[in-house]
């Protein structure tokens, strides 16, 4: 695959590059943040467990008001049920609190990820506790589930979790594999349909140029992960939206323990603006579509996003007579002085 750094062997007399390259000269001439000032975003896939408080501050500053943290592989295989349980607990407990301190609504999807589905003895135990978590407040789907190596064990637990989602009336967030991606994506969709899920209840994640058409044509939501080197870049994302429009398309960062960017959603919005995509379409792919898809869980309400998180907290303990956990005091990162 050619990249923009490759020097052409010949000098063509007319432009032969990708659409991105044709307007590669259209760049940010102000800081990217200024293009999205006042806009708000919803990142439907980000692993905050692996991120620092600096990232939360940066998300809040960039206008990200809501996030979904899918349950995933922690980089190190788990050896027992308790560590799964504690991880699920942190997604509905500590991480949700940490996020609220920065004014960001934190939701999650719960599931057995595809890699660890291959440890069948452990997978069976995890399946037993999943129903306990799927009905919790703020759990907006079953995820991220699907294929990694596309083994029989992965298929078995993908199917079992589709059944759980159907029973709980929850949307499904499907991880598509890095290897044999196109085939894995088709297979994931076919199995979901076979289990009687409606396409609009399923969000197919980590799409690329090769998978998007079929996903949209079959009526599924198509999520794109803007993640350096291995997934989508935001210039390619702009091309996708120019080509396919904004219906049922959403972008996310999937920021995690790898080299990734938690600000991928607002940065993509900024680039879309610079490259002439309408504000309405930007809003669709960086907020509305993700919201609509996961609101099918009954756990997302638009009012939640128009009020500061602290207002909601004070509803539990009427008034402000009780000092809340509240917002974290701001730290000036540029200062050499720490008080």
């Amino acid at each position: 695959m050619c990249s923009s750094h490759d020097l052409p062997q010949n000098h063509p007399s007319h432009f032969e590059g990708s659409p991105s390259e044709s307007y590669a000269h259209v760049v940010f001439d102000q800081p990217w943040e200024s293009y999205v000032a006042g806009m708000t975003f919803f990142d439907p896939h980000i692993h905050m467990t692996s991120r620092t408080t600096d990232d939360y501050q940066a998300l809040a500053d960039a206008g990200v008001r809501g996030i979904i943290e899918p349950a995933f592989w922690l980089g190190q295989p788990r050896t027992g049920l308790s560590t799964f349980q504690d991880y699920f607990n942190s997604l509905i407990g500590w991480e949700r609190f940490r996020s609220s301190q920065f004014g960001i609504r934190h939701f999650c999807t719960i599931g057995l990820n595809s890699r660890e589905a291959n440890n069948e003895a452990l997978a069976e135990q995890v399946m037993d506790i999943l129903p306990l978590y799927l009905y919790k407040e703020g759990v907006v789907g079953v995820g991220e589930i699907g294929f990694d190596d596309q083994t029989p064990a992965e298929e078995k637990y993908y199917r079992a979790q589709l059944e759980l989602a159907k029973e709980a009336g929850l949307p499904v967030q499907v991880h598509t594999p890095h290897r044999n991606k196109k085939q894995g994506t088709e297979r994931s969709m076919a199995i979901a349909l076979e289990h009687g899920l409606a396409p609009h209840q399923v969000i197919i994640d980590h799409n690329n140029e090769e998978t998007v058409r079929s996903v949209l044509d079959q009526g599924f939501y198509a999520a794109f992960t803007i993640y350096p080197f291995t997934k989508m870049g935001n210039e390619r994302m702009v091309d996708i939206v120019k080509h396919y429009g904004s219906e049922r398309i959403m972008v996310n960062s999937a920021a995690d323990w790898g080299i990734s960017d938690p600000l991928a959603v607002p940065k993509t919005a900024a680039l879309m603006k610079v490259r002439g995509i309408s504000e309405e379409d930007i809003r669709m792919v960086t907020f509305t579509n993700a919201f609509t898809a996961f609101a099918q869980s009954g756990q997302l309400h638009l009012d939640d996003f128009t009020q500061p998180v602290t207002v909601d907290q004070s509803q539990t303990f009427q008034g402000n007579t009780v000092l809340r956990g509240g917002q974290q005091p701001r730290v000036d990162k540029q200062s050499g002085i720490i008080r």
């Binding site: 349980q85 699920f88 607990n89 509905i92 407990g93 500590w94 949700r96 609190f97 506790i129 306990l132 978590y133 009905y135 919790k136 407040e137 703020g138 009954g298 907290q313 509803q315 539990t316 303990f317 009427q318 008034g319 007579t321 009780v322 000092l323 809340r324 956990g325 509240g326």
Partner: protein, 245 residues
């Protein structure tokens, strides 16, 4: 028994569909589902009982009421399972239910775990307007609660049993905390000084005299209240410990 006594108030506050659902949902799953099935509206309980006082002060919502009502009827095993898998609002409901379970003293570790929590709402649920710490905490657990509330700059006045559970060790802890805060150029909540009044010492006197020199008015008032109690100053007019945060 809590559930029986609360039933008339709770059922009369629910809509018929909510009530119908709740009556057949006394189970761990019912506890979890309460937030989906019952409204999240604050209700005030007119009963003259200590749970009504706690509930009204903590502003329990209807779904919270339902959760406490269910929790009070579950087995110990079921409750442990719920604690071990609790989402934040579930955890808050469980902690607020502790004084109303059938053997409250058996739940001391869950109560002190709530004090250890850094999740603001969970700490508040055990610390504020909850009779559990006053009734069941050991002296050291009680002292940790007070120190944690002070450390987090939360309001001491909302803790039940502040005067009945005063003790010498806590008074000493307050003096040490004040010294540490002052050395770092930080303040301590002025209300903390009421906890040393019953335990005068030369060291305490020295520190209260320093307190009287602090620029903050509430510190000066606190110092005067302590000194007056020790007959070393006039009783201040128009100021009591209730006025000091």
């Amino acid at each position: 028994m809590f559930a029986t006594e609360v039933t008339p108030f709770l059922f009369s506050s629910l809509q018929p569909t909510e009530r119908e659902w709740l009556e057949k949902s006394v189970s761990p799953l019912g506890f979890v589902l309460a937030s989906r099935k019952i409204r999240r509206a604050v209700v005030s309980c007119p009963d003259a009982s200590s749970w009504a006082e706690q509930a009204n002060q903590q502003a329990w919502t209807l779904d919270h009421w339902a959760r406490v009502w269910i929790a009070a009827q579950l087995s110990e095993t079921e409750l442990h399972r719920l604690f071990d898998t609790a989402e934040i609002r579930e955890w808050v409901a469980l902690v607020s239910a502790l004084p109303w379970l059938s053997h409250p003293e058996a739940w001391l570790l869950r109560a002190t775990d709530a004090v250890r929590s850094n999740i603001g709402d969970v700490l508040d649920a055990i610390a504020f307007f909850n009779p559990y710490p006053e009734r069941y905490f050991t002296e050291s657990a009680w002292n940790q609660l007070i120190l944690k509330v002070l450390f987090n700059d939360k309001p001491l006045a909302n803790i039940q049993g502040l005067s009945s559970r005063q003790n010498q060790a806590l008074a000493q802890d307050i003096l040490l905390l004040a010294k540490e805060r002052w050395a770092a150029g930080r303040d301590l909540a002025s209300a903390a000084w009421q906890l040393i009044v019953s335990f005068p010492s030369d060291e305490a006197l020295r520190m209260v005299e320093m307190l009287a020199q602090k620029p903050r008015v509430s510190d000066q008032q606190a110092a005067q209240l302590v000194l007056a109690a020790w007959h070393r100053a006039d009783q201040p007019t128009n100021v009591t410990w209730h006025d000091i945060i």
